[in-house]
Amino acid sequence: MIAHLRLEIEKLKKQTLSLSAIVEKSLWMAMRTVLEKDSVTARKVIESDSVIDKMEVEIEEECLKILALHQPVAVDLRFIVATLKMNNDLERIGDLAVNIAERGLYLAEMESCVLPFDFTEMAEKVQAMLKKSLDSLVNLDAKLAREVAAADDEIDDLHRKNYELTRQLIETQAVNAVCSIHGLSISRYLERIADLADNISEDVIYMVDGEIVRHKSQFETLAKNSDEK
């Protein structure tokens, strides 16, 4: 019985790792379409989303099956719950990669479109963040997972700068507004992916240490304020 649960959990772990690998690759390809105006790759990203969706459903079914049949507790329970949540986040990242690829496709077809900002740095940082959160999952490394949150602030700053720049450019009519809006959307998608990578790392921390770190500073501030009252 228990050995059986071990096998099921190992299988689930492998499925989740394959999904992570595909999602990571999908994001990488999506950014190529933007940076290199590559419409062929863009279409590949859009088409491959159904693979991600299918895997997401399979992983969820596997989790539900384990919960119903084995009633796992402690670390096993945390593993299943964290997997259910990460599975969702990974699928969302896949969708956002598709959104990026769709914008990339548009830009590739609009030769005259010049993006108002260079995405190289932001793309590299978001991909590194996603890689780190997925590495922390592979190695069940809570310490590495805790590093991800810090990088999220940097991405938020970059996105804010891009927003400001777009606003100025549109206001001064310095660039084509439609191109700028596409650019800003890509920035926004990357920022969302960084948030989801952050969520994944939080779930890894929960899985390994049993500690819920989400919204922690917020709760501490609330507690502090109510103490002072």
């Binding site: 019985m1 228990i2 649960l5 009633q71 796992p72 507790v73 402690a74 670390v75 096993d76 329970l77 945390r78 049993g210 500690e211």
Partner: protein, 254 residues
């Protein structure tokens, strides 16, 4: 545990069978009107421990208790303590239902008569009250004069719980009370345990970890005669502090 009143406690309590130290300096506190589950692999000492709480081990030759077992702060092994009184205040339900070969009524009334209650009206009232509390009244009220041995296993166990409750103990010890029962009877016993904690402090030994998770407020994990970890049940089953506990409850050993 912080805000709960402590009903029973052991302090650095060890138990010996001859030279063999079966329990190793166990310090545990039991909150009043709460259910505490004792879990651990066979031979870990959890049943031996349970039996020290109402001096059931007294009858084992060459055995001894070192340390302290307190009921409302008083050492139940102190010289001036009446063991019969301890066992009235700390009742016990066993793994296998053990009804007396008597009628259902007399089974439940037995302890009351031993305690000197002879008034027929009072006996009837208390038997009915106990059977109702044990969720058995509706099933047996028309055949109180029939033999208790004719009841099903699940009914017999509820009868034993009614018998234990009839003398109005303060603490109920249960040694795997549902392990010999089918799932439906088990469910009834579990529901009963949760209802009864309003009136008693309950300490239950169980091999069924899901059962411990379902019915108890606190869980204590025993291993090789030692208390390894004690915490709120939800903590033990979601994020135990010690790896040994986690390994046991997730079936990695034991």
């Amino acid at each position: 545990m912080n805000s709960d009143k402590i009903k029973m406690a052991t302090k650095d309590m060890s138990f010996f069978y001859g030279d063999y130290k079966a329990l190793n300096e166990i310090s545990l506190e039991f909150a009043a009107n709460r259910v505490t589950a004792l879990i651990g692999p066979s031979g870990c000492g959890k049943s031996t421990y349970l039996r020290t709480l109402n001096r059931m081990n007294d009858i084992i030759p060459d055995s001894k208790v070192v340390g302290n077992v307190q009921l409302d702060g008083v050492d139940i092994y102190a010289k001036d303590v009446d063991v019969v009184d301890v066992r009235r205040r700390v009742g016990m339900v066993f793994q296998k239902p053990n009804p007396f070969p008597k009628s259902i009524f007399n089974d439940v009334a037995y302890g009351l008569r031993v305690n000197g209650i002879k008034n027929k009206g009072e006996l009837q009232g208390r038997v009915e009250k106990s059977l109702k509390a044990a969720a058995l009244w509706e099933e047996v009220k028309d055949r109180l004069g029939e033999s208790a041995l004719g009841l099903s296993g699940g009914q017999q166990q509820r009868l034993c719980i009614a018998r234990a409750m009839a003398v109005e103990p303060e603490v109920l010890l249960m040694d795997e009370p549902a392990s010999a029962l089918d799932p439906i009877a088990t469910q009834k016993i579990e529901e009963l345990i949760i209802e009864l904690k309003d009136r008693f402090t309950i300490i239950i030994v169980t091999h069924n970890m899901q059962q411990a998770a379902r019915v108890s407020d606190y869980t204590a994990f025993f291993y090789l005669g030692k208390l390894i970890e004690m915490d709120a049940t939800e903590n033990i089953f979601t994020r135990p502090k010690l790896k040994q506990t986690e390994d046991y409850i997730t079936g990695r050993f034991g």
